[in-house]
């Protein structure tokens, strides 16, 4: 099926006709001294189905690491308090909601996990919530922030939203350290349930990534996403049991309400995270199962959409 390279008419200028396969006379002498395995790449128009390209992403893991590292380094540059902001933000949020609920409901009726001070119960949730919120907002904005990169150099595009989501883990680690201090202060020793903690962190990262993939891809084409993002994060936090617990909103309601509520993948994750550290009668298994399902759905569909729209990024971002 291969045509002779090039139509003959096109390479003619005036009366001159140039040979296509012209080679400098010394080309043979200068040829690379036997390239052992030269990779071959075929560039073609995108066809109907696309692979997720995960093996290639793995080959570029070093770049993903560098991008994440850059995000971490750059975030607190030229700020007076620097990395302290990673801890200050959840602490201030906690202070605001403590004051608010304290004034509205009275200091003894704060919506916390049974047997745990409100501050600990809420800070615990805020730590994991911030991992999600920060990862998701940075990830959704990533294609635009890295526009110069996307339009000028090739690498798996998945690296772009993945890096800021991973970078959010650094802030998480710092806030988590403070959380451990708080637990010690409150005299709470986590039980064996703490072993499930890495899994919950992984689920959070997966959810943040899944949402980021969706939003980053659409954001590249329509900036509406960028405008709606702060609003989305705010609302999402209020429909997630962060500054209150699930029991406070679901007790006495029908199954349907709890089912709809638990479609929010962060519901199960946040309650699960509380359970691993603060203990509790029994793990919120049904909520966690819902979270696992929606997370998987969001992540896989996000990957597909992102890959599907990927070919437009360089031209339209």
């Amino acid at each position: 099926m291969r045509q002779a390279a090039g139509g003959s008419a096109q390479e003619t200028t005036g009366k001159r006709r140039f040979r296509l396969n012209w080679k400098p006379p010394y080309a043979d002498a200068l040829r690379m001294p036997t390239a052992p395995s030269v990779p071959t790449l075929v560039i073609r128009p995108p066809s109907g189905w696309i692979s997720l390209g995960l093996p290639e992403l793995w080959r570029y893991r070093e770049l993903v690491g560098f991008l994440a590292l850059r995000d971490v380094r750059v975030r607190y540059k030229q700020s007076a308090l620097g990395v302290a902001w990673a801890v200050l933000q959840p602490l201030l949020t906690l202070a605001v909601f403590s004051a608010l609920f304290g004034a509205l409901l009275g200091p003894n009726r704060l919506p916390s996990t049974p047997g745990t001070p409100y501050a600990v119960s809420t800070f615990c949730a805020l730590v994991i919530w911030q991992l999600f919120a920060r990862g998701m907002s940075a990830g959704s904005d990533s294609l635009i922030v890295n526009q110069a990169l996307v339009t000028k150099v090739y690498f798996p595009r998945l690296a772009v939203p993945l890096a800021p989501v991973l970078a959010a883990l650094v802030d998480f680690a710092l806030a988590f350290g403070v959380l451990l201090g708080m637990l010690a202060w409150a005299g709470i020793a986590p039980g064996p349930a703490v072993l499930a903690l890495p899994l919950l962190v992984l689920m959070t990262v997966a959810t943040a990534l899944g949402v980021s993939l969706w939003l980053a891809a659409v954001n590249a084409l329509y900036r509406d996403v960028r405008l709606a993002l702060p609003f989305l994060v705010q609302i999402w936090m209020l429909v997630t049991p962060v500054v209150y617990t699930t029991a406070h909103v679901l007790d006495g309601r029908s199954h349907w309400v709890s089912l709809v509520y638990s479609l929010n993948p962060m519901v199960g994750i946040v309650e699960g995270f509380r359970w691993t550290l603060l203990g509790g009668a029994q793990p919120p298994l049904s909520l966690l199962a819902g979270s696992a399902l929606t997370t998987a759905l969001v992540l896989v569909s996000g990957l597909v959409v992102f890959r599907r729209l990927e070919c437009l990024f360089a031209d339209q971002v």
Partner: protein, 426 residues
């Protein structure tokens, strides 16, 4: 497949969609993978082979598809038709300092840039000293890049790129930045790369550099290969072709940008005194550039700025006329008419030039048209001496000037000079 072929391009085409349509409809359509109607082909049926170890230059006017071709070959954007088969590791340098972050230090940025360009950490560590030496910014490695001069930034960035050592190097117009000394060092490094059996694809408007570096050239014209062969004849043919595009009537040209609030419809050059379209533009003689225009609306146009840029045959800017420079922006213009720019004595040496037109209405570019017309200047007796100037020999500009001798303030200095050089006497 032939083992000596590094890149084989077959029937490559790239279609871009024009215009912003209803956003939602476009989103749904792109999700469904279907194309829309209003399109233009940036590349059309491009086919050629590049042999291993060959340095090939790509030339063509702005908008001819050069950058699109490099983007497709670098996998930044995907082709619409055809295929390209590439044997070997590719490094492409479409921009100097891609991914540089102003807050990070030189060292951090170098590391980052290396990772972006596909250099592994081990390779980078091994070449670190050489890279730093090549960049010449060793003293500032731990300073944030935002404090660098633009020249230093370019050095740092190119230093990383120059040490990539891929089998195939793709370079866009990156040498336009940086000082002359560094440019020649970069060219030297690139011909090193080419000389070591590596393949180089090089886009440049600097035709002299291209001739020095490349063995073969591809001439792209409106997305298609116009000519392909040994570098000198192709470059010469390209230069000789200078006037073709300018021959198309201004009103019918489609390769323009701007929002169209104002469009140039006609350009006429009137030379001599009284100005006439039949007279030839002559060095030192008056010239009027008359620009017909029409507006997209019937309302008067407000705050119109018009500029005409004159470029030489190699595409370097020579002179500019601009209403802004003369505080002569038009506060209000009727929706159609003619604007005339008067040059009392044309300061251009004999030769061929191209005119770029540019108009803004308010803050928006209304029309921008490159190579709108060719300006062929005949030699005139500017100096009244019967001697003439030629663009190739004397440079593109002509100035009236006079010479005289003046008694030096320091007679001893002249005496000393005379003592050193016996040829000079008072």
């Amino acid at each position: 497949m032939d083992r000596d072929v590094a890149i084989r391009i077959e029937g490559l085409g790239k279609r871009y969609q024009l215009g912003e349509q209803r956003p939602l409809a476009r989103l749904l359509r792109s999700l469904a993978g279907r194309a829309t109607a209003d399109t233009m082909w940036a590349l059309r049926d491009v086919s050629f082979d590049v042999a291993r170890g060959e340095a090939i230059g790509i030339i063509g006017r702005n908008g001819a598809g050069k950058s699109t071709l490099l983007k497709v070959l670098s996998r930044i954007t995907e082709p619409t038709t055809g295929s390209a088969t590439i044997h070997g590791r590719v490094a492409s340098l479409l921009e100097v300092g891609t991914g540089f972050h102003p807050e990070l230090t030189g060292r951090e940025n170098m590391r980052m840039n290396a990772a972006i360009l596909g250099m592994s950490r081990r390779e980078f560590d091994a070449r670190f000293d050489a890279i730093v030496e090549f960049s010449g910014v060793a003293r500032f490695l731990d300073t944030p890049v935002k404090r660098y001069s633009s020249g230093m930034r370019v050095r740092l960035a190119f230093a990383v790129a120059a040490h990539l050592e891929p089998e195939i190097l793709i370079v866009d117009e990156v040498l336009a930045v940086g000082d002359a000394e560094f440019q020649s060092r970069c060219l030297g490094k690139m011909s090193d790369v080419a000389g070591h059996g590596r393949t180089v694809l090089f886009v440049s408007h600097n035709l002299a550099a291209l001739k020095a570096l490349c063995t073969r050239a591809i001439w792209l014209d409106q997305g298609a290969v116009r000519a392909c062969g040994a570098v000198s004849p192709v470059v010469d043919a390209y230069l000789a072709d200078g006037h073709h595009r300018a021959d198309a009537p201004v009103a019918e040209r489609r390769d323009r940008s701007g929002n169209g609030e104002l469009r140039f419809t006609r350009i006429a050059l009137r030379a001599g005194k009284p100005p006439s379209e039949n007279a030839r533009p002559t060095t030192g003689a008056p010239l009027e550039i008359s620009l017909g225009y029409s507006a997209s609306h019937t309302a008067p146009l407000k705050n119109v700025r018009i500029a005409v840029l004159v470029l030489d045959s190699l595409g370097s800017r020579v002179i500019a006329t601009d209403t802004r420079l003369m505080n002569a922006d038009f506060a209000e213009l009727p929706p159609a008419g003619e604007i005339v720019c008067e040059i009392p004595d044309l300061p251009l040496a004999a030769g061929r030039y191209q005119l770029n037109l540019w108009a803004t209405v308010g803050d928006n570019v209304g029309d921008h048209l490159e190579d709108a017309a060719a300006l062929v200047v005949e030699d005139g007796d500017v100096f009244g001496t019967g001697r003439t100037t030629l663009a190739e020999k004397h440079g593109p500009c002509v100035v009236r000037h006079a010479w005289r001798f003046e008694e030096g303030p320091d007679d001893d200095a002249i005496a000393r000079a005379a003592a050193h050089r016996p040829g000079i006497t008072r």
